[in-house]
């Protein structure tokens, strides 16, 4: 399946809002009917808490939850289900790596390398860890096109680098980073690498064993799945170093009044009753994604984004923010004399949903000298007509304002 119209028909939100032009996929994607039905069925017919229930519903729910883990492991090419932990989202996954894996073993004087284009979720946890542990936070700069300056990046990684945390795709600029090269550079200095694939997990094939990354993080809700479920992949070489993140039930081997022994990763991260319906939902979303011809969709989206960039650039007074050679289906722009929030309000009047603001990348926008941008982000159900509607609305807005 690759035809945007055919794919769109699988998403009921577009039947409810037939005029909706949804261009905010970098914030969250829509949910397919199959995902909605699967979650609804779970609640209506299968609901039970997992693990220690010796009755059929509990046992089936446990099997469904663990099947979800297996589906995710398979989707990302992990060597085993035991590499995958479920969290509340990308943000929590990154915090876990910072707090429960890297934090406990870092030594004063070490450094952590991030990039200027990181989402706050992959920036602040490292900044705070560095402040607490007297580490140096090194921020890799970008060139004029909004790409990583790989020479400078390489210089920042040295023998005292404990972790390199980098996004696969910039959620603001759309830049696709050369993650294989970054992982090789980091490993040469024995540094671990965290890859944030929140923006790429859905449509870009990712194989953690081929990449040989140390940690990989993403969120279900950007993958046609539900809110509130995050994925954390930890390479087996780090499983022994993972410490609990939340303390509570479900993560213990034994508890006495004096001492608790914990289960190994990934179970030591899943304290409390997990989001069972959410995990079953993301497993269904993975099944849906596997019905898509991702290669063809990526080609279509590449053409669609190139068309959008070209059409937008022709609007007088409009400036594209970032012009990376290797770009995903995310486009940021500003317009002279109009604030991004006003632009998005007026686009909303034409049923066009975009995002305006700093996109949780304040250090990047400060560097660019911009208070905010308008961001249009496309997914598998967007077509050229959506771009035309965006461009027409912007042109009309411009003549209305001036």
């Amino acid at each position: 399946m690759s035809d945007p119209e055919v794919i769109k028909n699988q998403f009921p939100i577009f039947s409810k809002h037939p005029k909706l032009v949804y261009l905010d996929n970098a914030a969250t994607t829509q949910r397919s009917q199959s995902v909605i039905d699967r979650i609804s069925n779970f609640h209506q017919q299968e609901n039970a808490s997992i693990r220690r229930g010796a009755y059929r519903l509990a046992s089936q729910a446990t099997q469904g939850f663990e099947a979800g883990r297996a589906a995710i492991a398979n989707f990302f090419g992990a060597s085993s289900s035991e590499c995958i932990a479920f969290t509340s989202g990308t943000t929590e996954s990154i915090n876990i790596v910072a707090r429960s894996i890297i934090g406990p073993k870092v030594k004063e004087g070490s450094n952590i390398v991030v990039t200027l284009m990181e989402h706050h979720a992959n920036f602040i946890p490292w900044q705070v860890l560095c402040q607490e542990k007297s580490l140096e936070l090194r921020v890799a700069p970008l060139n004029d096109r909004g790409e990583l300056d790989m020479n400078k990046f390489e210089e920042l990684i040295d023998y005292r680098t404990v972790v390199v945390a980098v996004t696969h795709i910039s959620n603001t600029l759309g830049t696709i980073n050369p993650i294989s090269e970054i992982i090789q550079l980091a490993h040469r200095q024995r540094a671990s690498v965290l890859i944030d694939v929140a923006q790429s997990a859905t449509l870009y094939p990712i194989n953690v064993q081929e990449l040989d990354c140390d940690f990989l993080v993403c969120s279900a809700h950007k993958m046609f799945g539900p809110f509130g479920v995050g994925i954390l992949y930890v390479n087996p070489r780090h499983h022994q170093s993972v410490q609990p993140y939340n303390y509570g039930g479900g993560i213990i081997h034994s508890v006495t009044v004096n001492k608790t022994d914990f289960l190994p990763y990934p179970r030591n991260l899943e304290a409390g009753t997990p989001n069972v319906a959410g995990v079953i939902g993301i497993a269904e979303a993975i099944r849906f994604i596997q019905t898509l011809d991702r290669k063809k969709i990526n080609q279509q989206l590449h053409e669609l984004t190139a068309y959008a960039r070209q059409q937008l650039a022709e609007i007088e007074g409009l400036s594209l923010v970032g012009n990376p050679n290797n770009s995903s289906s995310i486009v940021s722009f500003t317009m002279d004399g109009m604030h991004p929030h006003d632009i998005s309000s007026f686009l909303n009047e034409d049923n066009i949903a975009v995002r305006a603001g700093q996109h949780c990348t304040q250090p990047l926008l400060d560097q660019l000298g911009l208070p905010a941008t308008v961001r249009a982000s496309f997914s598998a159900y967007n077509c050229l007509e959506d771009v035309d509607k965006l461009v027409t609305s912007l042109r009309e807005m411009k003549s209305f304002w001036t």
Binding site: H339, H341, D342, S345, A372
Partner: protein, 138 residues
């Protein structure tokens, strides 16, 4: 009011304040300096009051927050702190409770809340001044 009418009012009454906001500059040695900042969207202004009872502001933000600040400052010059608190409270309450607003320009400003998600843009300077002078009085 239809949405087209609101858009027209926006163009006629709000956009001019965005293009040429009232007293859009900073002065040296103000009596009071009040930050108005919305961390969720990044809109950020500094509002100043001089001992000649003049109000000034500068900063970065959308047309709605900028026009709102411009309209507010035009109306409160010469007021005491207590009067500013009362004036801001009255507008914020009218806005919240959909009460009729006599002041024609402020009525237009209030109507912009029908743009989804823009309430904070309207209220930014009003809440900032209300909070600042309330804290000052305590």
């Amino acid at each position: 009011m239809t949405r087209d009418e609101i858009k027209q009012l926006f163009k006629e009454k709000i956009v001019p304040h965005q293009r040429e906001p009232y007293h859009f500059q900073l002065v040296e040695n103000p009596d009071y300096e009040v930050p108005a900042y919305n961390p969720f969207c990044g809109d950020k202004y500094t509002i100043q009051f001089t001992n000649e009872q003049q109000a000034y502001f500068q900063g970065i933000g959308c047309a709605i927050s900028k026009a709102s600040t411009s309209l507010l400052l035009q109306r409160i010059e010469g007021m005491s702190g207590a009067e500013i608190i009362a004036y801001c409270q009255q507008f914020l309450q009218a806005l919240e409770e959909d009460q009729p607003i006599q002041d024609e320009e402020l009525a237009v400003l209030a109507s912009l809340k029908y743009f989804d998600g823009r309430m904070d843009c309207i209220t930014l300077p009003w809440k900032a001044l209300q909070d600042y002078f309330t804290e000052l009085a305590e």
